[in-house]
Symmetry: C2
Subunit: 203 residues, 2 copies
């Protein structure tokens, strides 16, 4: 039996789902509380009971993407050997990006709402980065390294994975005359190169 979307808790949830649909259908530019109300067939004022502004709703939509993403990364196959675990993390990252293109775009290709106003979003986004940091700390071994060192490695690896994910999503390889062999081996090769670069700096 379909439930009415007008009860407070349900409306709060329904707004998030409707926002997802608006973004999927018309792009992030089209998201507004008015459009969400229209989609839910509730009064224009109704979404304001739960989200003071469009950005508060967007922040909650984004936060859930990070939450799902972190859950997916945390459930990867684990390995004792840190560099094998890094590869497993890379595969889990790319798998999520390819299977959840909208969520991925919302996390990493969407201008953020003012972060000071959305601490839950910052917390859940930072948690995903901390998954990578934890693996990198294991790669560096028992000697404690500076946070800035870990962050630089994280930036390199994240850049590479994020770029590859975007390229895999966009079908750009097929447009730029990349050989079929290279297309098939790109993911493996990129991970080999990350491994080579990390090995050269962790001694």
């Amino acid at each position: 039996m379909p439930k009415t979307a007008k009860e407070p808790i349900e409306l709060k949830e329904a707004c998030v789902l409707a926002a997802h649909e608006v973004i999927a259908e018309h792009g992030i530019e089209a998201l507004s509380l008015r459009e969400v109300a229209r989609k839910l067939d509730v009064s224009h004022q109704a979404p304001y009971r739960h989200y003071p502004t469009r950005d508060h709703l967007l922040a909650e939509v984004m936060r859930r993407c990070f939450e799902n993403f972190a859950r997916s990364l945390d459930s990867r196959e684990r390995f004792d050997e840190p560099s094998a675990d890094l590869r497993s993390l890379g595969r889990a990252y790319l798998r999520f990006a390819v299977t959840h293109p909208l969520e991925y775009r919302l996390m990493f290709n969407t201008p953020w709402p003012e972060k000071a106003d959305h601490p839950a979003l910052v917390r859940d986004a930072t948690h995903t980065m901390n998954i990578l940091r934890t693996v990198l700390e294991r790669i560096h071994g028992p000697i404690k390294v500076k946070k800035s060192t870990i962050d630089l490695d994280a930036m390199f690896i994240w850049s590479t994975m994020h770029g590859l994910a975007s390229i895999l999503q966009s079908d750009a390889m097929s447009h730029l005359d990349i050989s079929k062999t290279a297309q098939g081996n790109a993911m493996q090769y990129v991970m080999d190169m990350i491994d080579a670069a990390m090995s050269s700096c962790v001694r």
Copy 2:
């Protein structure tokens, strides 16, 4: 004196500029020949004289982005030493991405129109990839390597640069608790890591 946009050649040009404006203001989803006609204050049929479909106009908009991008890469500071030239290319790439965010997004974050119908777009896009391939051939030295090897290196480097460009554009670093030192040194460090990875595979 403003020119009328109704003369054939000028209208063809004006459509490209208007398409840019539509995309900048409302996103790629809003691009249509009807919207372009409205912006130019010409009849709905007028753009069809030059662009049979919306995708033909989009292909020309994208092609010009690649043309400008290639010009920008070709005018980088040149170095005899191939790995120094690769770094110079990397800096030119990131500079373009940061100073031309819309053009960059159109090239690499936009679904392509059917490529078989737009050979000029494919040609100019492939040319930009060939700039990187040429530098990579010099890095591999006098021994001829397979195209698939060059393409794999190109995929690794392009992924890394594309990811870093997207991250720099999005201000994502400031949201994910990346230390200030790491933020300031990320570009240099990522290029060092590319260098380290390339050195390990070119012997």
